[in-house]
Amino acid sequence: MKRRKKLPYVIIILACIFLLIPFAATLVYSFTIGWTKLFPAGWTFKYWIQAFTEPTLWPAILRGVLISIPPILICNIVVILALYTSVVYYPKLEKYIQTICMIPNSLKGVTIAIPVLALYAGGVTFFSNRMVMLVCIYSISILPFVYQGIRNNLHGINVTRLLEAAEILGAGKLYAFIRIILPNMLAGILVSSLLALSTVFGDFAVIKIIAGNKYETIQMLLYNSRLIVLQYQCVIVIIMFTVTLVISQLVFKFQNRKR
């Protein structure tokens, strides 16, 4: 019996160790001067000081976060409205919405190829602006995460019955949606938004193809530092991880406080 009780803890601890090993190794390596066969040759803060005195670091982080916000907002608004409409008014449409939202998973290349073609064509329309293109591509790429998170959340609450209860008590459908349904969807929205944020924040390929060196995010900074020593890159990776962690913790803290 005791053995059975301990087993889940052992599995969780092993999983944590497995997940933390790459992070710990990267962190340790960022403090080393070099590496002998088995042990570090020595320890230094040099690369950390170098990273934090680098004037492009914080603007690059900020750019990464900023480029994530519009696609997440656009995607959330579109998906929430579409799902709300389908759940409340046209339940039969939901399977079509699901199919549409899952397409970017299989056709990611196409979503990148189209703006690239537009770039080569050299148009001067609103959509040929590189930032607009980036926002549009990211909005499409994160659609499956956002959709899945919000859908699961929406199905977890009995939307129709809650709306009916509110309607009987004298509330309009829109008011009931804003006051009752939306607050109950907050957890799902936050989780899917965080997933989307980590996808966009960690992206390198799309930004490199569309923006080149004109919009340097932290991923681009990492790419451009490939010729500098490896320890410096480790520092940037740790900073990226920490920023994502801090953002997600802030969001969860905010959510818990709201509860």
Partner: protein, 334 residues
């Protein structure tokens, strides 16, 4: 004119006609139960009355006004749902106050009224708790408080007790009935539980496949079921065909079927006047709390007989019994 009137109400979902011309009158202050098996149309009728569904044909009147095309908000009714439908992001206080806030009532008035109503349902100490922190019974009482705080013209209860355990359900049945009587609130209650209907109602309307099978007081419906369905659904009656009745006791009926209440099958060696007599063998014994049910084989005809449970007078399987039924207890079904 009655306080509530349904006039020839039809409701169809596609080709499926769920309500087939319902005509129904309810008096002010009455506690009416719509009783029937799942899918018989009782909840649909309630939803049509609340305005959550539109009727395909017919009219609904409330207090002399045709409300058929009114929105739920315009009807001034209160409703309690089977799954409580409390707003999970709001406290008990906020849930109960929601309706009055929609009416833009004064904050002080709302606060006082919320306290009063929660006192009525016995939840004064749960004001700042969230629905997830309450038990099923407490949640249902909050839902009731949220409905009655609006002082609705009619209170609609859509199987509100079906998700609650048996003991709590019995307590809530009594509490709801008491609150309804104190407030003199016209109430329509939907259930598939005949015992619940018997305990709570002034009048029962028994539904079957979109039509009202029989209406009357609980005692009336229980003692005088008019159809085979009513006899089966309401009282677990023994239903016998005319040839079976003849075989059992030599009597004959003008109707195709007769119904006999299980407690009207008397296990007694002393013959009564105006009764039919026969023998039977016990093939099953089932204890049901205060009563005991015997399944008895009477020459190939199976009967159920219910008697009071007495520890020292239990019959055994296989025992032969002298049975009798008063002739007046043999009900002829139309």
């Amino acid at each position: 004119m009655a306080y509530i009137e349904f006039r020839n109400v039809h409701k169809s979902f596609g080709n499926n006609e769920v309500l087939k011309g319902i005509n129904l009158s309810i008096d002010e202050g009455e506690f009416v139960t719509l009783l029937g098996p799942s899918g018989c149309g009782k909840s649909t009728l309630l939803r049509c009355f609340s305005g959550l569904e539109t009727v395909t044909e017919g009219e609904i009147y409330l207090d002399g006004t045709n409300i058929t095309d009114f929105t739920p908000k315009q009807r001034k009714i209160g409703m309690v749902f089977q799954q409580y439908s409390l707003f999970p992001n709001m406290t008990v206080r906020q849930n109960v106050a929601f309706g009055l806030q929609m009416q833009k009532k004064d904050k002080h008035f709302i606060a006082e009224k919320v306290k009063d109503v929660l006192h009525t349902v016995g939840l004064s100490d749960k004001l700042d708790q969230y629905p997830r922190q309450l038990s099923g019974g407490q949640q249902q009482r909050v839902a009731l408080a949220r409905a009655i705080i609006m002082e609705p013209k009619v209170l609609l209860l859509d199987e509100p007790l079906s998700a609650i355990d048996a003991l709590l359900r019995r307590n809530l049945q009594v509490e709801i009935r008491k609150i309804q009587q104190n407030l003199k609130m016209t109430t329509i209650f939907v259930t598939h539980d005949q015992e619940e209907a018997m305990v709570m109602s002034d009048t029962i309307h028994l539904f079957n496949v979109g039509q009202i099978e029989q209406s009357g007081s609980p005692a009336d419906i229980y003692t005088h079921p008019q159809t085979k369905f009513a006899a089966n659904f309401i009282g677990h009656y023994n239903i016998l065909s005319n040839p079976d009745l003849k075989k059992l006791c030599g009597l004959s009926s003008d109707c195709d079927f007769v119904a006999i209440r299980p407690e009207a099958v008397l296990i007694s060696p002393e013959p009564l006047n105006d009764a039919v007599h026969f023998q039977g063998k016990i093939t099953g014994v089932m204890l049901r709390g205060t009563t005991i049910s015997y399944t008895i084989d009477c020459d190939g005809i199976e009967l159920r007989a219910d008697t009071l449970f007495e520890t020292n007078r239990q019959r055994n399987m296989g025992e032969m019994l002298q049975l009798q039924i008063l002739k007046e207890d043999i009900l002829h079904l139309h």
